[in-house]
């Protein structure tokens, strides 16, 4: 799906499937021009990723409800479809037909714009999530930086919806969301910077390629254990997941900035928060857990089985395992996030800011410095 293929990819990694190329070739075989083929191709991966994101959210919502139930020794949704798998769909349908209310004396325009500003950057960030060597919408050179900058648009939307609701709880929730996002953005960016420093590239494809050398042993988590923890904590804070869900703390703020929202606008917030969770989990797996990489390099497996890496069947299998591995790793992290939700109590706002500014920020800085020093000292192991 990629338009531009990274030229400095290690020789060990095969270029893998290039669906766009084959698709264009097929269309050109029908007599279409190069540009027309490209025009027909362009919306396909976008649509596919949008569908993947929404399906990912449905799965996550179902998992959240089922795992939460299991942790609390309940049964959870059971009647909507087998094991309640259709429950998130039923929830969505209900929200779809609910009345859309704009509260009295609220700012209608900002009130409507808020959820849009929250959801759009999150969906846009899926642009850079790779499911395989060529299985991403766009291998932009600034990849991971694009995600960080997009995710800093989100607090504006939160603040906007909180302020425009004309409600004290919404305002407080919006302010908390903004404070939280700003405090946790910095350690998050510093943790990412350490990874970027090791892989010499901001592109997500390059970051994963650099981790594919020796399977599980070459994953970044072994070289960046502290960075991994910092990133995961910050990602939870960015997603407003439970130890850090102050913006919507229901005991004190009703539902925070979502208090006045109903129907489809509320659904957008709901969708946004879960897409964000899946996205964060995907990015953790990309940055630290080797992305689409199998614990044992596929090249080795192909070699042991006496197959060529470039054989069509091997390529298809490689692509499929890539997608499966990425999703598997991401959902493992989602599972941990859900388990954490029922394990940890909510932090106070002062504890939250203390953790962000006084603990994670210095730690991330030290981590960055140590990574730089190690890179200079052992260029072989730390991507010199």
């Amino acid at each position: 799906m990629v338009t531009f293929f990274a030229t400095n990819a290690p020789a060990l990694v095969s270029p893998g499937l290039d669906l766009e190329q084959s698709f264009s070739q097929t269309l050109e075989g029908f007599g279409l021009s190069d540009q027309a083929a490209r025009l027909i191709w362009l919306p396909l991966p976008m649509l596919l990723v949008l569908v993947a994101a929404v399906v990912g959210v449905l799965v996550t919502v179902w998992l959240e409800r089922k795992i939460s139930a299991a942790v609390q020794q309940r049964i959870g949704p059971e009647y909507a479809g087998a094991l309640g798998v259709l429950q998130p769909l039923a929830d969505g349908l209900k929200l779809l037909v609910k009345e859309d209310i704009i509260p009295a004396r609220a700012d209608g325009l900002l009130f409507t714009l808020g959820p849009v500003l929250v959801v759009v950057p999150v969906i846009l960030s899926w642009l850079i999530v790779p499911f395989g060597q060529n299985l991403l919408i766009s291998n932009v050179g600034v990849g991971i930086f694009l995600w960080i900058s997009l995710s800093s648009v989100q607090p504006i939307g939160l603040l906007m919806s909180g302020y425009a609701s004309n409600n004290k709880y919404s305002l407080l929730g919006g302010l908390r969301a903004a404070a939280q996002s700003i405090s946790y953005e910095i350690p998050l960016a510093l943790a990412v910077l350490a990874v970027v420093m090791m892989s010499n590239s901001l592109s997500t494809v390059d970051i994963v390629s650099q981790q594919t050398g020796a399977g599980i042993l070459s994953w970044n988590i072994w070289r960046q254990p502290v960075g991994f923890l910092i990133f995961w904590i910050c990602a939870l804070a960015e997603c407003e997941r439970l130890p850090f869900d102050l913006p919507e703390a229901e005991e004190e703020l009703v539902a925070g900035y979502q208090t006045e929202y109903a129907g489809m606008k509320f659904a957008l917030f709901y969708l946004g928060s879960y897409i964000n969770l899946v996205l964060s989990a995907l990015l953790v797996s990309v940055l630290y857990l080797g992305g689409w990489g199998f614990p044992v390099p596929v090249e080795w497996l192909a070699g042991w089985l006496g197959q060529s890496v470039d054989a069509p069947l091997v390529q298809v299998i490689t692509g499929a395992t890539g997608i499966v591995m990425t999703v598997l790793k991401a959902y493992l992290l989602v599972f941990i996030a859900i388990l954490l939700r029922w394990t940890t109590p909510r932090v106070r706002i002062d504890q939250l800011l203390d953790l962000g500014w006084k603990f994670l920020l210095p730690l991330a800085l030290v981590n960055l410095l140590v990574t730089a020093a190690l890179k200079l000292a052992f260029p072989v192991a730390f991507g010199g």
């Binding site: 795992i67 942790v71 388990l339 954490l340 394990t343 940890t344």
Partner: protein, 218 residues
């Protein structure tokens, strides 16, 4: 310099402690996932109310002597006893009796004091209604017997924790024939009677045994 190092050391120790606590907590929640759900799926499964459950009150019109003791012992004088004096027979003639279960607190005082035992507690607790006036039960409604959880074919009866066999924690799939842990009231009574016979019972002993027989009868 050393002060700073100590600070760093303390800080690290705190962080490690926090991480350990977190892992312990995660172990607990993870362990819970293996356990069986305790959910009683209500309309399809119901817990069997205990024998002294204070549910909706049952009333037998024919036993009632219209003495109004139930009204006097009621915290809010709730039962309405509608009687007239029959001049010829010089007896009270009961016409209507009603209790409003929208107001009743199910304390059971009326049942306790009724001299003719015409009032009793049932195990019915499903008293939801669309109109609060429909909760004002007259003597006909009060005389109806509720469907028992154990005999209702649409309901899977489940035993409460205290009524499960020894060692069982979950009510699902427990054989109904297996007796509960410990002695049943009638067994307690039998053993008390045995003891009384053994000590060639005096007055005190017989008093306890009558008390017990009264309780087991409930």
């Amino acid at each position: 310099m050393f002060g700073f190092l100590k600070q760093v050391g303390d800080y690290t120790r705190d962080a490690v402690d926090a991480a350990r606590n977190l892992t312990q907590g995660l172990a607990v929640t993870f362990d819970h996932m293996k356990r069986r759900p305790v959910t009683v799926q209500y309309p399809y499964e119901k817990l069997i109310p205990s024998e002294r459950y204070r549910g909706r009150i049952h009333y037998e019109f024919d036993k009632c002597i219209a003495c109004e003791v139930c009204v006097r012992v009621c915290p809010i004088n709730l039962p309405v006893v509608d009687w007239v004096m029959n001049k010829e027979t010089k007896k009270k003639e009961l016409r209507n009796y009603s209790i409003d279960f929208g107001v009743c607190i199910f304390c059971g005082n009326c049942v306790e004091y009724c001299p003719t035992n015409c009032l009793s507690m049932t195990e019915e607790y499903e008293l939801a209604a669309f109109d609060r006036h429909s909760l004002n039960f007259d003597n006909v409604a009060l005389g109806r017997l509720p469907t028992s959880v154990t005999t209702d074919p649409a309901v899977q009866p489940l035993r409460e924790l205290a009524y499960l066999p020894a060692g069982e924690v979950h009510p699902h799939g427990v054989d109904p024939a297996r007796p509960r842990a410990g002695q049943r009231p009638d067994q307690v009574l039998a053993s008390l009677k045995r003891d009384a016979a053994g000590t060639a019972g005096n007055e005190g002993e017989s008093a306890t045994s009558t008390n017990n027989s009264k309780e087991s009868a409930e």
